[in-house]
């Protein structure tokens, strides 16, 4: 009897201690918080879906690893007409999907047909500028634009313009998760919200140069578990860690021994928005006074553990051409107090405002950021700030309805061009969507001119002028540009911290 019981106890112990083969050695495992939503270029507008498609499909254009300059991928070359309105793409021959279908100009046309017809979330990026398109020849694809649009190749490099295999239905969005691949990797196994298992695509044209064998992307629900999983060795790398954890990986000697942190600039910016229609922010003096008070260095230090943030003095990021720092670099309390006094606010009659940030949406550090901004503004003694927060969808609703007066947002670009940092924010056609309701006909004209100009030098001059308005009217206060960090086990090779998309197909052990 006793023996039996002992055995019953010992059995599970034995089972538990026996090693599980699990993830194989040649698999690079990535942990992430991002979840893919829909694997259809006509519909996908979220980071993870786009990343997966970028690694498994090819577009006419792509980006060179580690750069923001569009380079031909499926296309071998492009001819752009002098007026900048016609683009003729010449396709490489013999490019195929894993099901054997060749990718021709007609494949591209059909894919665009779907985008124009189905009008999915990212469709406006194409439909907004494209007048017409056709397959001129089996390997020649011609596009006519509504107006000259300089960043067009960047749009073509976005997944919305990718050719898709024939399993994607003509009249509806693709609902499955496995499709014939044309990119360096293909989806082998996939479970929503849990993991994606990618393997090398044997039919990829550049097959030999792909060193990756298998990539497993595991999805997590909180950043802390990712950190633990890294330490435990469940995953090899991740870019979803909090700044606090990243700082640990950068400084803790034990962790430094095993892991490496790859930091690179990204094109994500963070900024404060003023609803210029709402009192008291309809007064540019108040907006400017607040702009004078913001101390970016302090925010970085206290809220972001002094890493991965760069002070930003314009809405266009630093590492982008056309950047001109227009905002004041050092906080100036005296000037702010003077401006506030001009607007009628003094210590005896203080300005009472609300500052909003979205709960949870940008991580927990924004919470601290809000506290610091509050204390910076209150230092004058003239401003009283109440910090308010709400969950993201409600926040968006309040924003578009103009409820929010002064609030925090972030922006990740759709295409890498200064236009994507100017048009959506300052052009009157895009007003409601970003909550400032700023309108300025003069500026509209400048922006339109800048986006249709093909000469880069002239464009640069135009953007400099546009950025002057940014400081003059201050509908936004740029705060930081983020740097992205990947923490990876030193065994993992081929880690590129790409500002545009992560290249899983370069990873190997």
């Amino acid at each position: 009897m006793v023996k039996k019981r002992l055995f019953a106890l010992a059995l599970p112990m034995f089972l538990l201690s026996s090693a599980v083969a699990g993830t194989k050695k040649d698999t690079v495992t990535i942990g992430t918080l991002d979840k893919w939503k829909v694997l259809d270029p006509a519909k996908a507008y979220d980071v993870m879906s786009c990343n997966l498609m970028q690694n498994t499909l090819v577009g006419l254009y792509g980006y060179k690893p580690g750069s923001t300059v569009p380079e031909p991928a499926l296309a071998s070359s492009v001819d752009i007409s002098k007026d900048g309105k016609t683009y003729v793409f010449h396709l490489k021959k013999g490019m195929i999907f894993t099901n054997g279908d060749e990718i021709t100009a007609d494949t591209v046309k059909k894919a665009w047909d779907r985008v124009f017809k189905l009008k999915g979330d990212p469709a406006f990026l194409l439909t907004g500028v494209v007048e017409s398109y056709k397959a001129k020849d089996k390997y020649v694809f011609e596009v006519k634009l509504k107006y000259p649009f300089a960043p067009f190749l960047s749009v073509v490099a976005f997944t919305v313009a990718y050719p898709v295999p024939s399993v994607f239905p003509e009249n509806s969005f693709f609902k499955g998760d496995k499709y014939p691949a044309s990119g360096p990797l293909m989806i082998k196994k996939i479970k929503r919200d849990r993991y994606v298992y990618l393997t090398k695509n044997p039919k990829y044209f550049d097959y030999k140069n792909v060193e990756t064998k298998k990539v497993l992307i595991r999805q997590y629900q909180n950043a802390q578990t990712i950190r633990l999983a890294l330490e435990k060795g469940d995953i090899d790398m991740s870019s979803s860690l909090t700044t606090l954890d990243i700082r640990d990986f950068m400084t803790n000697p034990k962790l430094k021994e095993k892991f490496r942190v790859y930091v690179s600039p990204s094109f994500v910016i963070s900024y404060i928005v003023f609803n210029v229609k709402k009192k008291p922010f309809n007064n540019p003096k108040i907006r400017k006074a607040i702009a004078y008070l913001v101390n970016r260095g302090e925010i970085k230090k206290f809220a972001y553990n002094d890493i991965l943030r760069e002070d930003l003095y314009s809405m266009i990021p630093k590492n982008m051409w056309g950047y001109k720092p227009v905002f004041n670099k050092k906080p100036d309390v005296q000037k702010a107090v003077k401006l506030l006094a001009e607007a009628g606010f003094t210590k005896e009659h203080p300005l009472k405002i609300n500052y909003w940030y979205p709960a949870g949406h940008y991580g927990t550090d924004v919470e601290k950021e809000a506290q610091i901004i509050k204390s910076q503004l209150e230092k004058t003694g003239v401003i009283k700030v109440t910090v308010k927060t709400t969950e993201w969808p409600t926040y968006l609703d309040y924003m578009t309805k103009g409820v929010l007066g002064m609030f925090r947002l972030g922006w990740a670009p759709d295409y890498i061009d200064p236009d994507n940092y100017v048009y959506p924010f300052l052009h009157s056609k895009a007003d409601a969507s970003l909550g400032s309701f700023y309108k300025n006909p003069e500026l509209d004209k400048l922006i339109e001119k800048a986006r249709s100009e093909s000469d880069k030098k002239k464009r640069e001059e135009l953007y400099a002028k546009i950025q002057e308005y940014l400081w003059k009217d201050a509908p936004y206060i740029p705060l930081h540009q983020t740097e992205s960090a990947i923490v990876a086990d030193k065994k993992v090779k081929g880690v590129t911290n790409d500002p545009v998309y992560p290249r899983y197909y370069l990873l190997h052990k």
Binding site: E231, D248, F302, E367, A370, Q371, S375, K388, T389, E391
Partner: protein, 265 residues
């Protein structure tokens, strides 16, 4: 001494301390709980006996002030729960018929629903803030108190002494108070104490999901859920003290609640 009594006394002691801190806490600390300073993550010392957090705020002050908020939220939540539950229970009990059936159905549905899920749904839509969070937590309590009151109403409704109150024109509130409310007080007291503990935990859970009382309000739930990020760093004081505060508060109320509901048995 009787161990049962010890349980009660420990509970009462903890809760009494809690109320004491909530009332007099602000007098015991020289720091402003929301004032940020350069001394971030300083470990417990004589000047900051519980250390400071990521923004250099004094954790001791935050824990003391936090008693206020945590108690306020949980007491408010329980109060709303009792008020709504009683109100609906009275209506259902006295009116009976279809109204009763309808409310009972609704309450049954709510009763089986996980409290946290309800609270999340409501805070997601109502937005944060002490009142909203309290309300969201309260929703889950309503069915319990509803049942209690409705059953009491049904059991006394047709008693002759209630009929008599009509004859003697006793005001309705008096009848309700004497015949409905007073008899359920013993049962109520136990559940009430347990509910308060529950509310503190639910609030912490909401904070963990980013839906609790918005910062910088000093609040144990929020402080613990921010503090638990530092479990892997060596900043143990960031989660330990708010954690202990929650643990003791919930334990205190649970000890009392358990004692009271057992005395009823």
């Amino acid at each position: 001494m009787n161990l049962k009594k010890i349980q009660l006394y420990i509970g009462i002691f903890i809760v009494a301390m809690l109320f004491f801190i909530a009332v007099f806490g602000p007098l015991l600390t020289p720091y402003d709980p929301i004032a940020i300073s350069n001394a971030t993550f300083s470990s417990p010392s004589l000047s900051h006996i519980f250390g400071t957090d990521a923004l250099g705020r004094d954790i001791f002050s935050r824990v003391l002030y936090g008693a206020r908020i945590s108690l306020l939220v949980s007491l408010l939540a329980v109060f709303i729960g009792v008020a709504l539950g009683t109100f609906l229970g009275l209506i259902a009990g006295f009116f009976g018929g279809k109204i009763d059936k309808f409310i009972v159905l609704l309450m049954d549905a709510m009763y089986a629903f996980p409290g946290l899920l309800l609270a999340i749904t409501f805070t997601a839509f109502l937005g944060q803030g002490i009142r909203n969070v309290a309300f969201a937590i309260a929703i889950a309590f309503v069915p319990t108190y509803f049942r209690l009151v409705r059953n009491q109403v049904l059991s006394i409704k047709n008693e002759p002494f209630v009929e008599a109150t009509k004859v003697f024109k006793v005001p309705l509130w008096k009848t309700v108070f004497i015949y409905v409310f007073l008899p359920v007080v013993p049962t109520l007291a136990g559940i009430l104490a347990l509910s308060i503990g529950d509310a503190i935990l639910t609030e912490a859970g909401l904070s963990y999901l980013g839906l609790g009382v918005p910062p910088p309000t000093p609040d144990w739930g929020a402080d613990l859920s921010t503090g638990q990020h530092y479990i892997l760093q060596d900043y143990w004081w960031c989660f330990l003290f708010p954690g202990i505060a929650i643990f003791l508060a919930v334990l205190g109320f649970a000890l009392i609640g358990d004692y009271l509901s057992e005395e009823k048995l």
